[in-house]
């Protein structure tokens, strides 16, 4: 047991006055801090986790001796969300005020006013609460070293959400930088429950390289560089070579909070039936509304923005009692979201329909029920969401799953069981992205001159980059300096230059300014503003692609009066959504029905729609892939008839029909059905590996089927199955050959290179790596313009330098994020020799849901583009002949 005298009297009195006693993990965190240890605290929400993170700092600050010189920042708190940083600032003020501590705690986010930001630079607060992007900006600032010299503690909140991402890579690099500025810095991570705490510890920890390289010897010898003036290093400096950095998770101590009560999880079978297919759970809305009516405050989670809009709309149609039900998702304007959050904090709301925007963040004591509409997709995410209910550890959280289809019913059941058994989804280990490293290197050069070897060591002390090779580091530096091209055109335009003493720095102030405007590792999908207004025809000022030319290359034959910009902004939405709509279509946004008028540049113009029934937009499924762990549970449940009894009667019946009409595969088998329908022949598979892996598989299979002369016409995928249809029957195919793992070799490479996914991944890497810019001084490019020009750049670069750093980065991102190639590889290995083929004469019960999805997908890619052109041409000929 930890001795309670860890708390100074002022603190224990404060706890006592509040009627609290310090929790074991809070005291443990104080003890770790006193011992100068880094610590990762894993605790469920509601356990006083944030306070546990700050207590050591509050104590140190309260007990510090008065000093004459103004102190620098003592504790830096990093949150993934701006709102959370602001909220924690507010919560932190309570103990500071009540104990009468003389401590200044302030937040700094993208929304913080310029005067406050300037003041924070001159007079730093004791505790600064901020985001990873703001920290990256700080680290790219000339005064960074002095500013952070007094830093004793960095606290990373929601570390479980932060580490497995590019933001996490960037943050790890910046923390390594801070450690250089302030060697005695202590690292603290706060995390929700995770499957493998060691992964988070490794990310957070400082990594020491086993053999320190002979620094003086290497750095002192100025040699003519190979490409960017770098030291020639076929083998790199001795001691810097592919030797593995010691992955030292033990440098971070683990502190576990107490478990809290087991959540109560139920699966709703509304009206005793489960629909065949769908994503919206519309059938269950009346019952969901009734349950909300009986609860104090409910959080209604969905998986996509448009599901959120839909559910919100449906609930308000039923809301005869006028219950305060609100909507919260990433497309709403920040102001609207803040309003909802404030109303929630006041306890004014009975329910909020929300997306992952509320997965984490501010504590709301009043939430007593979490409803998950449509399947949860992963057990860990669900545990996190359930944790939002009832922040009193002794009372169980209540959660209700509402499956939208029969396969989702299986998934919900599996997720509920997994949560009760406390099994969570595993995350793969992460290797830091090189485009993020490029941004960091540029930031370092903006801040102060650096020597390559010093920076290399610092970078490798960050968990995600512990194994970074000298070659890769050199490649990144060369990329930052000259673009990293085999053609040495840009040597005279270098962005960073090496002086005669071997120090690298930014070439000039312009380069520095441009870097600062483009910091960050989040590349959101192209987003357009949704504005009220008629819109006009696209005019030059709105639609001309900047980088690509027409705007600057060509002057209009006549000039046009600048179109009056305007229309109240009601929010933002992904551009792809509006590309599917034609003017006049009606859709739901921000809880109302709108008519889409036009898309002009980065603005979508809409007007309130007279119709009450919107034309249903094509609902996407979940944007989260089904977790591997949950998928395996679903397969097991499907095979084990004893488990069927836990399912509603209509689902049981459906499975019994499937068994009679087709077959139910063993747990380790994959079912593949072929059957004719209409003039087409279908091949439906059920790998349960998530939509991403299925889409990749379908793309690759389609190529193979095309070569076999089967004439594949199209495919559709969901989280559970994929369906390919063709001109000719596919009953007689050599299945083992078709599914051979070698499809992940050349076939994947060929397809990837021309796929739009690669182009999208390349765009993201090019933005993060600084090849293209998000913002130019005085103008912001819309994502639309960026999309357009990076495609051209991608095509040219791929042809002339296929091994370029950014193409490598894009390939890696596409393979992991967009394509789930690793998972597909596992699938192919798993089903080798275990494909159960059922040749049927008509559609099977299992196949119905995926058949219903046909027609929702849009055809991407060049081949489809050709077909569209050909078809449009046919239309024209038909028109001419009629």
């Amino acid at each position: 047991m930890v001795p309670a005298d860890l708390l100074p009297p002022r603190f224990s009195e404060w706890f006592a006055a509040r009627g609290w006693s310090p929790r074991a993990h809070q005291l443990a965190m104080i003890e770790k801090a006193k011992a100068g240890r880094d610590a990762l605290l894993i605790a469920p929400t509601g356990g006083g986790k944030t306070l546990a993170g700050f207590l050591p700092s509050l104590i140190e600050l309260a007990e510090r001796a008065p000093r004459n010189t103004p102190a620098g920042i003592h504790t830096l708190y990093i949150s993934p969300l701006k709102a959370l940083a602001v909220d924690v600032e507010r919560n932190l003020m309570t103990p500071i005020r009540e104990m009468g501590l003389s401590i200044v705690a302030e937040s700094r986010t993208g929304d913080t006013g310029e005067s406050r930001k300037a003041r924070q630079r001159i007079r730093p607060p004791d505790i600064l609460l901020t985001t990873p992007e703001q920290l990256a900006l700080f680290c790219a600032w000339e005064g960074a070293r002095e500013y952070f010299a007094d830093l004793s503690c960095v606290i990373v909140d929601e570390a479980h959400a932060m580490w497995p991402s590019k933001r996490g890579d960037l943050l790890a690099l910046d923390i390594a930088r801070l450690q250089t500025f302030a060697p005695r810095l202590r690292r603290v991570g706060l995390s929700a429950t995770v499957d493998d705490p060691d992964l988070v510890r490794r990310w957070l920890g400082r990594h020491r390289q086993e053999d320190p390289p002979p620094l003086g010897e290497v750095a002192a010898k100025p040699t003519e560089g190979a490409s960017a003036g770098l030291r020639p290093s076929p083998s790199g400096p001795p001691g810097h070579l592919p030797q593995r950095g010691r992955i030292d998770a033990s440098s971070v101590d683990l502190v576990l909070g107490s478990g809290g009560a087991q959540p109560v999880v139920e699966v709703l079978v509304s009206g005793g039936r489960v629909p065949w297919a769908g994503h919206t759970a519309q059938h269950a809305m009346a019952e969901v509304y009734e349950i909300i009516r009986q609860s104090r405050t409910a959080l209604v989670f969905v998986n996509t923005r448009f599901q959120a809009e839909f559910a919100f709309q449906e609930l308000w149609k039923l809301n005869d009692d006028g219950l305060p039900i609100a909507l919260h998702h990433g497309s709403l304007s920040a102001e609207q979201r803040r309003k909802v959050e404030a109303a929630m904090a006041r306890g004014d709301l009975r329910a909020v329909v929300c997306t992952s925007t509320l997965d984490m963040g501010i504590d709301w004591g009043d939430v007593d029920l979490v409803i998950q509409l449509a399947a949860p997709k992963g057990a860990s995410r669900m545990v996190q969401r359930i944790g939002r209910a009832n922040h009193r550890l002794d009372e169980p959280s209540r959660a209700l799953f509402v499956p939208a289809s029969r396969f989702e019913m299986l998934e919900c059941r599996a997720a509920a069981d997994a949560i009760l058994e406390n099994h969570l989804d595993g995350e793969p280990a992460r290797v830091g992205a090189l485009d993020v490293l490029a941004q960091h290197v540029m930031g370092c050069a903006c801040s102060e001159p650096f020597r390559l070897v010093d920076l290399y060591d610092e970078v490798r002390s960050a968990g995600p980059y512990a194994d970074l090779s000298w070659e890769d580091f050199e490649t990144v530096v060369d990329f930052v300096s000259t673009g990293g091209y085999a053609l040495k055109t840009y040597d005279r335009f270098r962005r960073i230059v090496e002086d005669k003493d071997g120090f690298w720095k930014a070439r000039n102030a312009q380069v520095v300014q441009r870097h600062r405007m483009n910091v960050g590792a989040i590349v959101s999908p192209a987003v357009v503003n949704v504005r009220i207004g008629g819109g006009r025809r696209p005019s030059r000022s709105g639609s001309a692609p900047t980088l690509s030319g027409a705007r600057s290359d060509a002057k209009p034959a006549s000039t046009f009066a600048d179109r009056a910009r305007g229309g109240r902004k009601i929010g933002e939405a992904e551009e792809g959504y509006f590309e599917q709509l034609t003017p006049g279509d009606t859709f739901v946004f921000a809880g109302q029905v709108w008519q889409f008028n036009s898309l002009v540049g980065a603005d979508a113009y809409v007007s309130p729609a007279p119709a009450k029934d919107p034309k249903m937009p094509s609902w996407g499924g979940s944007k989260f892939p089904l977790s591997t762990y949950l998928a395996s549970r679903v397969r097991k449940m499907m095979h084990d008839e004893a488990e069927w009894t836990a399912l509603p009667p209509d689902v049981q019946e459906w499975m019994a029909y499937q068994k009679a009409r087709s077959l139910i595969p063993d747990e380790d088998e994959m079912l593949l059905e072929t059957f004719p329908r209409g003039k087409r022949f279908h091949m439906v598979m059920y790998p349960f590996e998530g939509r991403l892996a299925h889409t990749t598989l379908a793309m690759l299979l389609t190529r193979r089927l095309d070569r076999l002369g089967v004439g594949p016409l199209g495919f559709v995928c969901n989280d559970y199955a994929l369906n390919i249809w063709s001109l000719r029957p596919m009953d007689e195919l050599d299945l083992p050959d078709l599914f051979d793992q070698d499809m992940l070799g050349d076939d994947l490479e060929d397809w990837l290179n021309e796929s739009f996914l690669m182009k999208r991944a390349f765009k993201a890497c090019a933005l993060v790596g600084g090849l293209i810019e998000r913002r130019y001084p005085g103008e912001e490019k819309s994502g639309r313009q960026v999309t357009f020009s990076t495609d051209l750049i991608y095509d040219v670069l791929r042809k002339h330098q296929p091994d370029h750093l950014l193409l490598r980065c894009a390939r890696m991102d596409a393979a992991t994020g967009q394509l789930d190639v690793a998972r597909l590889g596992d699938l192919l290995a798993r089903i080798k020799g275990r494909i159960r083929h059922a040749a049927l004469d008509k559609v099977s019960p299992f196949a119905v849901p995926i058949m219903l999805e046909i027609g929702r997908e849009r055809a991407p890619g060049d081949a489809a583009g050709e077909m569209i052109l050909a078809e449009a041409e046919e239309d024209l000929i038909a028109e001419a002949l009629s």
């Binding site: 091209y485 962005r495 441009r514 030319g549 290359d553 051209l792 042809k799 569209i868 052109l869 239309d875």
Partner: protein, 222 residues
């Protein structure tokens, strides 16, 4: 197709072929556009656009063996672009002049035309009953062939939509797509194209191997 009464060939590459004069016309190559960003902003776009454009141009020259190669303006992205040409790219350009005439019409980006490269610099020219110039003149201009606007079409059918560079013509005048690797496109529904055609024009969308004729009903704004 027939342009103002005479037969011309629209190539899938975006070039125009005048068979009886054995003349190949290309517009808006914007050589060294990539390096202009490095020079002006320190933004390191891949410096391969010039050779990419050259490769496409050489393929057309090899296929058609023109006697005259006409650049319809904006061949260079800026006044200093010629000096930034990589040595081997400049060699390839000079090689194109061997055994044929190069004619450089000037555009707004390269108002002076090339200084060191072979060929003749002109403002506009008449050939086989057609007028070739960089920037389309306002109003109806029978027989004019121009570039400058970088036309592109968003073509839509029941299956979705696709955006391609395109020729635009009403049978009287013709606007060529930009030939350069880094040149973007301006939607032909943009007002910049309004008033140039007597009748609603057809788009000739570049589909890789061939040009697809697309009528107004299949066109969409961006």
């Amino acid at each position: 197709m027939l342009l103002a009464g005479r037969t011309v060939l629209l190539r899938g590459s975006g070039a125009l072929w005048l068979a009886s004069e054995r003349a190949l016309v290309v517009a808006d190559l914007h050589f060294e556009k990539g390096s202009s960003y490095a020079a002006r902003f320190g933004q390191m776009l891949p410096p391969y656009d010039t050779r990419e454009t050259l490769t496409r141009l050489e393929a057309e020259v090899a296929a058609l063996e023109p006697a005259t190669l006409i650049f319809l303006g904006d061949s260079f992205h800026d006044g200093a672009a010629e000096d930034r040409l990589a040595a081997d790219d400049a060699d390839r350009l000079r090689a194109l002049a061997v055994g044929r005439d190069l004619i450089w019409a000037v555009g707004n980006h390269d108002a002076d035309g090339p200084r060191a490269l072979p060929g003749q610099v002109i403002d506009e020219m008449a050939i086989g009953g057609l007028i070739l110039r960089h920037e389309p003149e306002p109003g109806v201009q029978p027989g004019e062939v121009a570039g400058h606007l970088h036309p592109a079409a968003r073509v839509s059918s029941g299956r979705g939509s696709v955006r391609k560079r395109c020729f635009v013509t009403d049978g009287q005048r013709l606007i060529l797509p930009a030939f350069g690797a880094y040149t973007g496109g301006l939607n032909i529904l943009d007002q910049a194209f309004a008033g140039l055609f007597a009748a609603p024009p057809l788009a000739g969308a570049l589909g890789g191997r061939r040009v697809h004729a697309v009528g107004p009903k299949s066109l969409r704004p961006d």
